[in-house]
């Protein structure tokens, strides 16, 4: 069973719909027992960073502990941003700190709108198992105004081009995150979720340093 963290943010329902569509047993919950018993955790989120982290409350400690102990974790959009150390969206907020880096505004550019909203191409590194079977590049649906500046040397990063090489996904051992919305990226997105479910079914690997 995969648990989708239920914490009063936007896209929780869409993520559950998508997981169920690919035949995955998904539970929407914020109960400690359910989260502990799950094979993997999905942390969704459509909200401002500060609001999301405050709604997560005490769950952030639990999620962090389980991730360090090796449980697969997938953050989506703001759920992905919360994997990092901090964000500067409407003030300074601390994230879970599982991956080093900070969440900062997308630089403005006269040709490119912020929010970055729509389908953009992501270059998919061979060594990220989240993208297994998807080839070298695919389009995904994005909707965000901040991005994660990843500083962790051990983290694998996939990039998209939005006037600069912008991180679009990250992987550090069992911790995964995507800035885009796999639950809204059609068949390609469903494949990413399927890959995560398969990762959850494998024996655990530890996050460590």
């Amino acid at each position: 069973m995969i648990v989708v963290i239920d914490y009063n943010v936007g896209n929780v329902r869409s993520v559950c719909n998508a997981l169920r569509h690919i035949g995955c047993k998904a539970a929407l919950s914020r109960k400690t027992e359910t989260i502990e018993a799950s094979a993997g955790i999905v942390l969704p989120g459509v909200a401002a960073f500060g609001y999301a982290i405050s709604q997560l409350g005490g769950l952030s400690k639990l999620i962090k502990k389980l991730a360090i102990d090796g449980k697969p974790l997938l953050g989506i959009c703001v759920g992905y941003q919360m994997l990092f150390e901090h964000s500067s969206e409407y003030g300074r907020h601390n994230g879970l700190g599982l991956v080093s880096g900070s969440v900062v505004p997308i630089p403005t550019n006269p040709q490119l709108c912020v929010p970055h909203m729509g389908w953009n191409q992501v270059k998919l590194p061979d060594d990220m198992d989240l993208f297994a079977g998807l080839g070298k590049e695919k389009n995904f649906y994005f909707a965000h105004s901040f991005y994660a500046d990843v500083t962790n040397p051990q983290a694998k990063v996939a990039y998209t081009d939005y006037g600069f090489a912008m991180p679009a996904a990250v992987q550090k051992a069992n911790v995964y995150g995507v800035q885009f919305h796999p639950e809204k990226s059609g068949k390609t997105g469903l494949k990413v979720l399927k890959n995560f479910v398969e990762i959850c079914e494998k024996p655990p690997s530890k996050l460590g340093g």
Partner: protein
């Protein structure tokens, strides 16, 4: 670089998808849940669902249908029709929509756009404009409300500019003159609006041939093209549209 989007539109009346010509003579086009699932599966970039029964009053019954459609739609999903308050928007978003579109309510209460943007972010707020060509002035369009039944004195370009300032994140621009005619989009209208705003413009009304999509993007400056008749009645698949555009060097998500 962001791709240009292909967006099928479900006009829903009495729980069925319908499609007319110039907003009249509605013809049945199928089941919204089935059509939604089909477009999501076929590779559409987004889906728009407009409850055209509502127009004046928000119907609670629509929520159930939105939930059912959303269960099988794995692309961004916009819902509109009769939405008047941020509370109603909240209900729609919780039912599985990613964006809400407002039309009549924004004209009678423009602050709604600001309230909605502050609460949900402007990426969630679509300003739908039903535009009718002015009979008196050349290349001027007037905003119509209540499913096109009521013309106002408001100029479409001015309203679009104001809508952006108030908090709209996108403009869904429908030409009532071209709607359902399949003679092509009103690209003078699309160009006038897309030149005046910095947010994406979705061209709507008039798609009949593949080159119409290209023209709306190139001549009309549209970021996305919306269609109903030509997809519902099987003239073209989403893939055919995308392959055609890609063949003419338009970036699309194939």
């Amino acid at each position: 670089m962001l791709t240009k989007r292909i967006i099928p539109c479900l006009d829903v009346k009495d729980n069925r998808v319908v499609k007319g010509i110039k907003f009249l003579n509605l013809r049945d086009a199928g089941d919204p849940v089935e059509l939604g699932a089909r477009y999501s599966d076929e590779g559409a970039d987004e889906l728009v669902f407009l409850d055209i029964t509502a127009t004046i009053r928000f119907r609670k019954t629509i929520i159930e249908l939105v939930e059912k459609v959303a269960e099988n739609v794995f692309i961004p999903f916009t819902v509109g029709g009769g939405i008047q308050t941020v509370e109603q928007m909240d209900v729609i978003l919780r039912s599985g929509a990613d964006k809400v579109s407002v039309n009549t309510a924004a004209v009678s209460n423009p602050n709604l756009l600001t309230e909605a943007a502050q609460r949900f972010g402007n990426q969630c707020v679509v300003l739908a404009i039903d535009a009718r060509r002015s009979k008196e002035k050349l290349n001027k369009w007037q905003v119509c409300v209540k499913a096109g039944s009521e013309p106002t004195d408001i100029d479409v370009v001015e309203w679009a500019v104001r809508g952006e300032k108030l908090g709209a994140g996108e403009i869904l621009l429908t030409s009532m003159d071209a709607d359902g005619t399949k003679v092509g989009y009103d690209n003078k209208l699309n160009k006038a609006v897309s030149d005046a705003v910095n947010i994406p413009v979705i061209a709507s009304g008039g798609a009949g041939k593949l080159e119409h999509l290209y023209d709306a993007i190139i001549d009309g400056g549209a970021d996305a093209v919306l269609m109903a008749s030509i997809t519902h009645f099987g003239n073209y698949t989403i893939k055919q549209m995308k392959e055609y555009l890609a063949g003419r060097a338009i970036p699309v998500n194939l």
